[in-house]
């Protein structure tokens, strides 16, 4: 069975704490995700998301604080705007925008985090593998390895 790989960018103050809480509460979910902790969801550049797809992610997830609760005042609003526009771009780039998901999960919502991971994993599984690096026209030359 196809096991999707999901890259998660989690904001330190909210969603990463929610993921921690899911752990403390021993709530199990699918092991298909891999997390990167950022200070704020607004740190995430669309370039990072595209790179993740290119490097093999079948789905990308962004987790931030609920509107009004951002530790840095309005970072999540910036993220919201960026992702809204970026999803349109994704379509043009031949990537199904459903492969990118933005969710507001607060530090208290460990259960929601686990449920979201399970749900998103199944959604990506249904969409199938992306294999973007194989579909890309230009092969990237890697400098340091």
């Amino acid at each position: 069975m196809f096991e999707p790989q999901i890259m998660c960018f989690l904001c330190k103050w909210c969603t990463s704490s929610a993921a921690d809480m899911a752990g403390t509460s021993r709530i199990h979910y699918a092991p298909n995700n891999i997390n990167m902790r950022v200070m704020c969801s607004s740190r995430v550049d669309p370039q990072h998301i595209l790179y993740a797809f290119k490097e093999g992610a079948d789905g990308v997830f962004l987790g931030g604080c609920h509107p009004g609760d951002c530790h840095y005042v309005e970072g999540n609003y910036k993220t919201l705007r960026r992702i809204a526009l970026f999803k349109i771009m994704l379509k043009d780039l031949g990537i199904d925008p459903k492969r990118l998901r933005l969710e507001w999960i607060s530090a208290a919502e460990g259960k929601k985090y686990a449920e979201t991971m399970n749900e998103f994993t199944e959604q990506i599984r249904a969409l199938g593998p992306l294999h973007l690096n194989e579909k890309a026209l230009v092969q990237e030359v890697v400098k340091d390895e």
């Binding site: 790989q5 890259m7 704490s17 993921a19 921690d20 809480m21 899911a22 752990g23 403390t24 021993r26 709530i27 199990h28 979910y29 092991p31 891999i34 997390n35 990167m36 902790r37 950022v38 200070m39 704020c40 607004s42 740190r43 995430v44 550049d45 370039q47 990072h48 790179y51 993740a52 490097e55 093999g56 992610a57 530790h71 840095y72 005042v73 309005e74 970072g75 910036k78 960026r82 686990a114 890697v142 400098k143 340091d144 390895e145």
Partner: protein, 658 residues
């Protein structure tokens, strides 16, 4: 992607923790350490049962020294638990604390997955990503800056006074700026305070006197803050001094000037219920104790038109030639205590707008209750001075109404309405007091007991329902309400109505707050940094909040909050120097084109454009390191320290490539 010059390879140590069976029960920790020991950048790799234990930490310290490690990764529990522990251990070993990476393979791996093989594979990826990041981590030093241990307090009400005294008692200098001729705020206008029925002026005036006499407090009344520039620990304040036209050091309060002044205007202290002269003393216990000449209502400060006050002043204290002056002060912290105002009755057309003299708000009723007020403490209604035989009190006037007015609860009205009703019943024993309420909120200490007294002993009638209309018919005010507990309409003929108007942001302060870039919420109240964990600090470093400027609250809470703000200022001043996390977002001058996109991204106004050089400059002390600007920068000139785009790309490669 930029191609970087090949740096000297790092010598990173990897320490994988078993955490007993918490991690090792699911993740094969030995395998993780083994698989990664030959990864580029890793010089040492091991696993251990409890990394956070003393022997575990000692092992890290020893290994760093022996193997000359310049970076370490501890694969263990969430960084929120032990990041500081391992940073401290590293520091003891002589390693820069910002070369420590914590890979979370417990909360975000072993505790949430059951498939051991997959969990182990995931742990390897997680650790690999931290290796990729660690290879590009730089040594960082916390940013240090001096602190000017002087505080500015804006506002001389009870919150400002309390904060001023506390900070001054700590041993620091305080400048207190109050825009009115005297300190005292709104509290000095109150009659009795709940739940103790203390005389408000009796408990506040000692504080006022203490502030005026305190050797470390510079009291500037009739002054206004014009602008504040700089940053935390290093503010420059411009203060405007309004001309009083009376020399406060000479005035001896003889009152002769007031007697001869021909101009009569409504008295703001008595909420317009009585009159004062253009040259006036706001109230008998005013501090500073001096008359003030109100230029707007004076006949013209021109001896040709009128010079009566100057003529009768023995002390020669009156000087029509005084001018507005501006002074500059330097401080390290600012406490904003600018207070509140009441929602205008004009907005409540259904209650008559402001048409009816006998429909008053809470502060007006306080003045009527006050022994020093327009009626000498006798309860008489404004229109004809008759003693009202029936008063209706309407709670929630303008508050808790998300459709037409203000959605929030004004917090103090239930208590002061009970107090008003009680005072009325005490002074007019055959009078009928009726209170219309939605709820009665009495959360503070002894509050509910006080309210119960009003109901049980003072026989105040409480009706649960909103008032839909108040209008005058002949001599009486007709109040239409409803009793929701019986379901019946209620119509009351009252002599007077007291509206518990909602507390709102202070008038005339919004411009100042905007100038100071102090965040306010949608209602104009000051926004705290975090409602639960940082309630007395603003998001703007160096600004603290106290009192009703932050939101409706009663006197006990105001004083507590003022002292808390003072304590926070004390925290700031106790530092030898200010230390700030260095994981900020500086600007690479060579790549910056001065487009300015990052300026608008910053909620802390940490970035400014240097017009001379055409590049952006960052005040690293104000930068909180969120990274929003870094993501927006089109040229990559803005990079977050130890989480650069290169690092992120490297991490993604490490995590996702098979």
């Amino acid at each position: 992607m930029t191609t970087k010059p090949k740096l000297k390879e790092k010598r990173i140590g990897l320490f994988v923790c078993h955490c007993g069976v918490n991690i090792a029960g699911v993740v094969d920790v030995g395998k993780v350490a083994e698989q990664l020991k030959d990864t580029p950048g890793v010089s040492f790799s091991t696993d251990y049962v409890y990394m956070c234990s003393d022997p575990g930490q000692q092992m890290i310290i020893d290994t760093i020294k022996e193997k000359h490690l310049d970076g370490i990764i501890v694969a263990a529990c969430s960084p929120t638990l032990h990041e500081k522990t391992f940073q401290e251990a590293a520091r003891l070993a002589g390693l820069n604390p910002y070369q420590i990476e914590i890979a979370n393979i417990r909360e975000q791996d072993s505790w949430v997955h059951t498939d051991k093989e997959k969990a182990t594979k995931k742990a390897v990826k997680i650790v690999k990503s931290h290796v990729a990041k660690a290879r590009q981590n730089e040594n960082l030093d916390p940013i240090k800056v001096d602190v000017n241990r002087r505080a500015l307090i804006i506002g001389g009400g009870v919150s400002g006074l309390q904060a001023a005294m506390d900070i001054a008692d700590h041993g620091y200098e305080v400048i207190l700026v109050e825009k009115n001729p005297s300190i005292g705020g709104k509290m000095i206008q109150l009659s009795e305070t709940f739940p103790t029925l203390d005389c408000s002026q009796c408990i506040l005036t000692p504080k006022m006197v203490e502030v005026s006499r305190h050797p470390r407090i510079k009291l500037l009344t009739y002054h206004e803050v014009d602008s504040i520039s700089g940053f935390v620990g290093n503010f420059k304040v411009r203060i405007k001094k309004r001309p009083r036209y009376v020399d406060e050091t000479l005035c001896n309060l003889c009152g002769e000037c007031e007697k001869v002044c021909p101009q009569v205007v409504p008295d703001e202290f008595n909420m317009g219920l009585s009159f004062r002269k253009a040259i006036y003393l706001p109230f008998p216990q005013a501090i500073p104790g001096t008359y003030t000449l109100d230029a707007e209502n004076c006949l013209g400060l021109n001896p040709v038109r009128c010079g009566k006050c100057k003529d009768v002043c023995d002390k020669k204290a009156i000087d029509y030639d005084m001018k507005e002056t501006i002074t500059e002060e330097e401080v390290g912290a600012v406490v904003v205590a600018t207070g509140y105002d009441l929602y205008t009755m004009q907005a409540l057309g259904e209650y008559g707008g402001e048409k009816y003299d006998d429909v008053v708000n809470g502060l007006e009723f306080e003045r009527i209750l006050s022994a020093s007020g327009p009626t000498g403490g006798e309860i008489r209604r404004p229109s004809d001075g008759k003693v009202p035989r029936s008063i209706v009190f309407v709670q929630c006037s303008g508050s808790r109404d998300s459709e037409k007015h203000l959605p929030y609860c004004s917090k103090i009205c239930c208590m002061y309405t009970a107090k008003h009703a009680m005072m009325y019943r005490h002074r007019v024993p055959d009078g009928q007091a009726t209170v219309f309420y939605i709820d009665v909120r009495t959360g503070g200490k002894s509050f509910d007991e006080f309210y119960m007294r009003t109901v049980e002993e003072d026989k105040v009638l409480y009706i649960r329902g909103k008032v839909s209309k108040i209008f005058k018919e002949g001599d009486k005010l007709i109040v239409w309400g409803v009793d929701t507990l019986t379901g019946k309409k209620v119509e009351i003929e009252a002599d007077m109505v007291v509206l518990a108007m909602a507390m709102v942001k202070a008038d005339g302060v919004q411009d100042l707050l905007k100038k100071l870039k102090i965040a306010t919420d949608i209602h104009g109240f000051l926004a705290e940094a975090h409602p639960k964990l940082r309630p007395v600090e603003s998001l703007n470093a160096g600004f603290y909040l106290a009192g009703c400027a932050h939101g409706p609250k009663d006197i006990p809470e105001t004083v507590a909050q003022a002292s808390a703000a003072a304590a926070k200022v004390g925290d700031l001043f106790a530092q030898k120097e200010l230390v700030h996390e260095p994981t900020v977002v500086p600007v690479n001058d060579e790549l910056c084109s001065g487009c300015g996109i990052c300026l608008t991204m910053c909620p802390y106004t940490a970035r400014t454009l240097d017009p001379a050089r055409g590049v952006v400059v960052v005040n690293e002390i104000l930068c909180e390191g969120c990274g929003a600007c870094a993501a927006a920068c089109p040229s990559g000139a803005a990079q977050q320290r130890n989480q650069t785009d290169d690092q992120i790309f490297s991490m993604l490669r490490a995590m996702l490539r098979d």
